[in-house]
Symmetry: C2
Subunit: 124 residues, 2 copies
Amino acid sequence: MVKQMLNQNAQQLDHVFRALADANRRAIIDQLSRGPASVSELARPLGVTLAAVVQHLQVLEQGGLVRSEKVGRVRTCHIESSGLDAARDWLGERRALWERRLDRLGEVLAEQKQEKVKKRKRDE
Amino acid sequence: MVKQMLNQNAQQLDHVFRALADANRRAIIDQLSRGPASVSELARPLGVTLAAVVQHLQVLEQGGLVRSEKVGRVRTCHIESSGLDAARDWLGERRALWERRLDRLGEVLAEQKQEKVKKRKRDE
DNA sequence: ATGATACTTAAGTGACGGCTTGACTATCGT
DNA sequence: ACGATAGTCAAGCCGTCACTTAAGTATCAT
């Protein structure tokens, strides 16, 4: 059950990071982080087809980075936090582990240094 | 020149996020964030060939997430901060923009509410 | 009702990604 | 010197990706 959770988590992260790994998709997030937009508004600055944008949006929605509703004939898109959170959390966790290790390493080195100092003093 | 910087930045982000978009590569980072390891040590828990790990390492190094030196016949790998920083910074910036917008939206809504209250008071 | 707008869907294409195998090199222990 | 260990390189396989075109559907304005 824990494994199941990890797998789901892993898949979620796959989707998030994959979604972020494309410049056009990041540009879409960029624009949406400044305010909601329709599909055509998103397509205009990118210089690609509407169809391409729709495909990007599918990837972004799967990653939990964007949400959208259609009212009438226009679909309005906006940022979703959950994907960004998942990415940020994962990054933060690894970083914490890694920095804690560097701290411990620093302590060990400092202790070794101290040992040397003591030794030197003893030898004087 | 600004554009050049943006392009380089974009390429860097492409590499970082692409590197993170694979479960095996994230597992490698996971292990390395707990301490340095050789290529074979990284391969063992993954159940893939050494060759595959070497390829993952190339991607990770390109993304600035891992560094490695070879001494004798063993290559020792450890985490690099620059890739993680780039990813974290980008995420943070979009998030800030987006939250600021939500704040402004909140203010606008609050002001509108206030207007209504004033109006009601005036009408009493 | 008709034309224009705003998507949506399906199919195809060329490039790239992750992985393997197999042959090779360099280094270590004895 | 010898076999075992640790990694490297090249080729190939198959699936996925980003994108396009082409043909739809639904909605809006007149």
